[in-house]
Symmetry: C2
Subunit: 327 residues, 2 copies
Amino acid sequence: MATIKDVAKLAGVAISTASYALNNSNKVSQSTRKKVVEAAKELNYQKNGFASDLKRSRTNTIALILSDLSGPYYSELIKGVQDVATANGYDLIACSSIGGPQSTAVKFLKEKRVDGVIILAHNISDEITLESAREGFPLVVLDRKLKNEFVVHVEVDNVQGGYTATEYLINKGYRHIAYVSGPSNSHDNMLRFEGFTNALKANDLNFQSKWRLSGDFTREGGYRATKMLIAQRDLPEAIFYANDEMAIGGLQAFKENGISVPKDISIIGFDDIQLAEYVIPSLTTMKQPKYEVGALSVHLIFQMLLGEKVNHNYKLSTELIERDSVR
Amino acid sequence: MATIKDVAKLAGVAISTASYALNNSNKVSQSTRKKVVEAAKELNYQKNGFASDLKRSRTNTIALILSDLSGPYYSELIKGVQDVATANGYDLIACSSIGGPQSTAVKFLKEKRVDGVIILAHNISDEITLESAREGFPLVVLDRKLKNEFVVHVEVDNVQGGYTATEYLINKGYRHIAYVSGPSNSHDNMLRFEGFTNALKANDLNFQSKWRLSGDFTREGGYRATKMLIAQRDLPEAIFYANDEMAIGGLQAFKENGISVPKDISIIGFDDIQLAEYVIPSLTTMKQPKYEVGALSVHLIFQMLLGEKVNHNYKLSTELIERDSVR
DNA sequence: CTGTTAGCGCATTCAA
DNA sequence: TTGAATGCGCTAACAG
């Protein structure tokens, strides 16, 4: 591969001159520039991004770390990040945290390959995150709280969301409500559950632990949890699934057992994924402002990059989307 | 930020010794290594990835360029790439080509920031792609054909897919079949159409141009095209949508007009996106082996990186998925 | 086993 | 306007 050296040589100028010419500096005469540009084209010269980043110690790119690049859930979030990053002349790369400490994600996190990072990946440990946090390296974390002066949080108000969803069911007249939970170590899940129990309490209902099932945030998990509930032969009147995937799994379980939603039982989800609108019956759920989360996150990164002070916590609220799974 | 220099100084060793110790070379005594590691921890040292990549002139990462990171369509593909890359100890980053020549994608393509690239992004021009192709820089292109000795193609057999889909409709007894096409500049679309007309010809049917509508590969486009077809008051017996998104848009148009699928008209899509299974009626479609495309692509990149000769064209076949939208 | 040294490719002084 | 020289942070060859 041709380097700038070769270009300079071919053009018959010094390296620095070539560099100036290629970077559109005005310190170079038109004729010289033309010579250099032509030489570059002839050699099919491409600059080495690393070398230049190394020199300027800035990459102009930010990374978005997701636990699973292929999850459809992230679409909106990515779009939010993408839009704002592009608008500010920054590049965005997405990488997956699959592979744990050996993953691409960790490499980018620790090795200064980017100017800032947004993390939404439960399999990146708190420890690694904290180790990477440092002055001048903005870190936005979306799915947990970390105590560190260089870490900023953007989160959805899960407690309020859980509360609103539950209150909605209660207002519809339901008294016996089950909760299908996500992984027990999920921060999001805990907060949604907190909102759930708060709403029950506020309405003088008490929660029966037999109606808390574990579903792991997966469709399969929701399916299994629901099957168990059905097997118990003591169905609640309504179910709050801690996310839509599990609710969709539940829908399938009910269908297989000839139980009609929402005639026999009402269900509500959380997230408002794309599929929620298409399943039968369409799923009533709490919509997360995913695009906004993404956009705000990058925005904060830019502010920090500029050395501005920002708060450490941002909370966005959720919105009830009424569809057909609650009667 | 601490550099390896600082670490070496604190540990009281030479820079190279520190480097060896940190890179788990066995050229260093246990005690020295311990000293160095401790110094590194104390200074919160993180190596600068660029500098090391620059030195080794290898990045161990490959890039996947997509026109839209947020498209659910890509899930499977990404997973295929991810799995194989990880298994080979390589990192994967995904970047979007939104922004054209200024996009992140182009930067990665041209500036040697990665060891290899997979492109599935119609908005990256052929010109840019060709400019980037060079020896020792494997380039796999998924959505078009380019004449260049350093470019390898992996494609789905769209002609066969189009043929199979159409033949299926014909075998069901349909004679009047419309085609809702993707963008006219889409290579994929052209090939599917070719398969479509081939199948008609093989069955002595002739194609009427009034039954070729344009839908742009979007749901909205499929919806509009279908509305037009309905407005013509001369419906075909079946429709072949060049992708699932458009078919889903069509489904909606039919529903709004009280036309029942598949009772009044049969439709078939192409791609087998996740949603296809969930719409009502569920969509009969041609499944693309997306995971396999991804996996094969990276695999080829590794072979090229190792200097092995590989073919320039790979074609994977599609598979008919029978569901409920064809009677 | 450890230290010295020479670049990787580029941007950027500082003199000329 | 140009060119020679310097160093970003790191690795690896070599010498001790």
